[in-house]
Symmetry: C2
Subunit: 338 residues, 2 copies
DNA sequence: CGCGATTGCCGAACCGGTTCGACAGATCGC
DNA sequence: GCGATCTGTCGAACCGGTTCGGCAATCGCG
């Protein structure tokens, strides 16, 4: 492989001149610049990333820490990853993907060894063990998901509280007075999935304010358990006219349950979900839903992170906690109750 | 951050001694080794990855080139990615994930700049434009998916031909004489998805050999089109007693179609799919299927790649094309025909 | 006791870039 | 015509590791 020394020799200049000619960081005569460029082209010169990283202490790589859980919908994670990766690339960065179970150790490894200029953390738990590591790390980071303590962090998440209120308000306005909310399984909460109770608590409170009866239950994450649960709930609360789903598995299972029961949506039951458009497409879900926008969140986190990485002034700006406001995508699955 | 110079000074030895003490590549007295280890611990020393890469010309990073298509099931890609990432980590490597649309250019970029020690290419098309780049690259690679020309490549794939034969044989042995095979949409073939016709052609031929009638059609990749197609086919070939699915979307849509038609599996219709166990779990599919084993394929590709990367003798071994033999996972969805 | 082999450490070079200071030659103003 | 400024290039140092050759001090052995 050709080094910058080879290029310099071929162009008849010194290494430093070759470097300046290629980077344009100092004035170089047009004639020399051309000779160097030509030599670089002819030798198929590509700078050695390690050497450059060593000299500039910039790797142009961002770490991406994904966290997988058995009971979570893998494609959702995929959407985050794609958004982060694509946005990073348009900003000139590559992605070091880390799927290690021990996220804290992995984070320490890639930041301490200077493999990355910054990190994006996905699937943040309420008391995420990676966060202390991130705060102490020599590299900036961006978290997707809301932890209990946001100090010293840039945090990006959907506004799940508002999502809960929007769901309740929407059905309340249509005249519904008794609703069912199916959340993720309770163990997701125990694991630190704060978004579950954030949406739930806000919905419960808003329902109380509006005089709406809300049956809030924790669901299951798999078939056939989640199908059975749907049936049980619909049997238990026959007078409920609206169903809110903060549970992907339940949303995916609902069409067949509804069909089996001869239940028409929205004539007999109004339905609002909370998931990503990609999820809706994969399962062909015919329900109105709150878009959880993994692509926007991922992209936002990366842009913010890169700003901090690249600008010394941005590096010292105060940390931000930024919420995406929930957007209700209508698919016609809500109506005035019978 | 502490450098090895800091560690050496703290331990009262030279940089080279510190290096040897930490790597163990030369004999070092136990006492000095301890002093150095202690100093490294105290200073929280972590070697600078760029510097090490420069010195050793090894980055301990593998590139992973994923290719996304609208009509493909994203979670499947996710399974490959996880398998590759997890296997790489157990072997001491990190993963540079590249999702760029222009895969050939991305591949050139990461190999020429020496960011990675090797690359794994996913979703290989029949005439994949990344392959010429890989062959010319200064780094070894492993391809998952079978291209038309395997020369100069290590290739790993499911044996789709055998999968087609296994499907046909299984139902033939049970007594079935008329089958339907739904493949991926035809445009997947045009894009270079060779696995589609590889399974199809082998199934067609085996059916001919066995005297079985096989209606082989290209399917759709989305609801509701794929649901309509299923209904049409079942109407068109009412005497068919077996259904073979090399099409994830069709498999996912089948349960509700069957229920709507009052079709019992396997009493009225025997069904065999071809997908991953993860896909089966996500959609709770109750069908026997040929496991497409993305985890095994990904893991295998990485292990082979790492062997080539690490051993100079392995580097010159002949290239391999390795097929995983299809495994039929029984879920009781096949039986003797009416 | 003397000599060669072994052990344990050090100094220096190297990997391949970037960047700072210096300097020669051209240009300018007065 | 001379000093000051500007322009374009070079040499050297540096980033932070690894590794080779060399050199004492110690050891084993006849």
């Amino acid at each position: 492989m050709a080094t910058i020394g080879d290029v310099a020799r071929a162009a008849g200049v010194s290494r430093s001149t070759a470097s300046y000619a290629l980077s344009g960081k100092r004035a170089i005569s047009e004639e020399v610049r051309q000779r160097v460029a030509e030599a670089a082209r002819a030798l198929a010169y590509t700078p050695n990333a390690g050497a450059r990283a060593l000299a500039t202490s910039q790797t142009m790589v961002l770490g991406l820490l994904a966290q997988f859980y058995e009971d979570e919908f893998a494609p959702a994670m995929m959407q985050y990853i794609r958004a982060v990766s694509d946005t990073a690339r348009t900003l000139g960065y590559d992605i070091l993907l880390v799927t290690e179970a021990d996220g804290a150790r992995a984070l320490r490894r890639i930041t301490d060894s200077r493999m990355v200029d910054g990190v994006v953390l996905l699937n943040i738990a309420e008391h995420d063990e990676r966060l202390p590591v991130l705060r102490a790390a020599p590299r900036p980071g961006a978290s997707v998901g809301l932890p209990a303590d946001c100090s010293g962090l840039d945090v990006f998440d959907l506004d799940f509280e508002e999502a809960g209120r929007v769901m309740v308000d929407h059905l309340h306005r249509l005249g519904h007075r008794e609703l069912i909310l199916i959340s993720q399984p309770e163990h997701v909460v125990h694991r630190g999935g704060a978004y579950v109770w954030r949406l739930r608590d806000a919905a419960v409170q808003r329902a109380r304010e509006r005089g709406v009866t809300l049956h809030a239950v924790y669901g299951e994450s798999r078939q056939p358990a989640v199908g059975r649960l749907l049936n049980t709930l619909l049997d238990t609360y026959p007078s409920a006219t609206g169903l809110l789903l903060n549970n992907e598995a339940a949303a995916a299972a609902l069409p067949s349950v509804a069909r089996a029961r001869g239940l028409r949506v929205p004539e007999d039951l109004s339905v609002i979900g909370r998931y990503s458009d990609d999820f809706a497409a994969t399962f062909s879900l015919p329900y109105s839903f709150i878009e959880s926008a993994p692509d926007r969140l991922g992209s936002m986190a990366v842009r913010h992170l890169v700003r901090r990485v690249e600008s010394t002034t941005a590096r010292d700006e105060p940390y931000v906690v930024r919420f995406i406001s929930p957007e209700l995508v209508s698919r016609g699955s809500t109506a005035v109750p019978r």
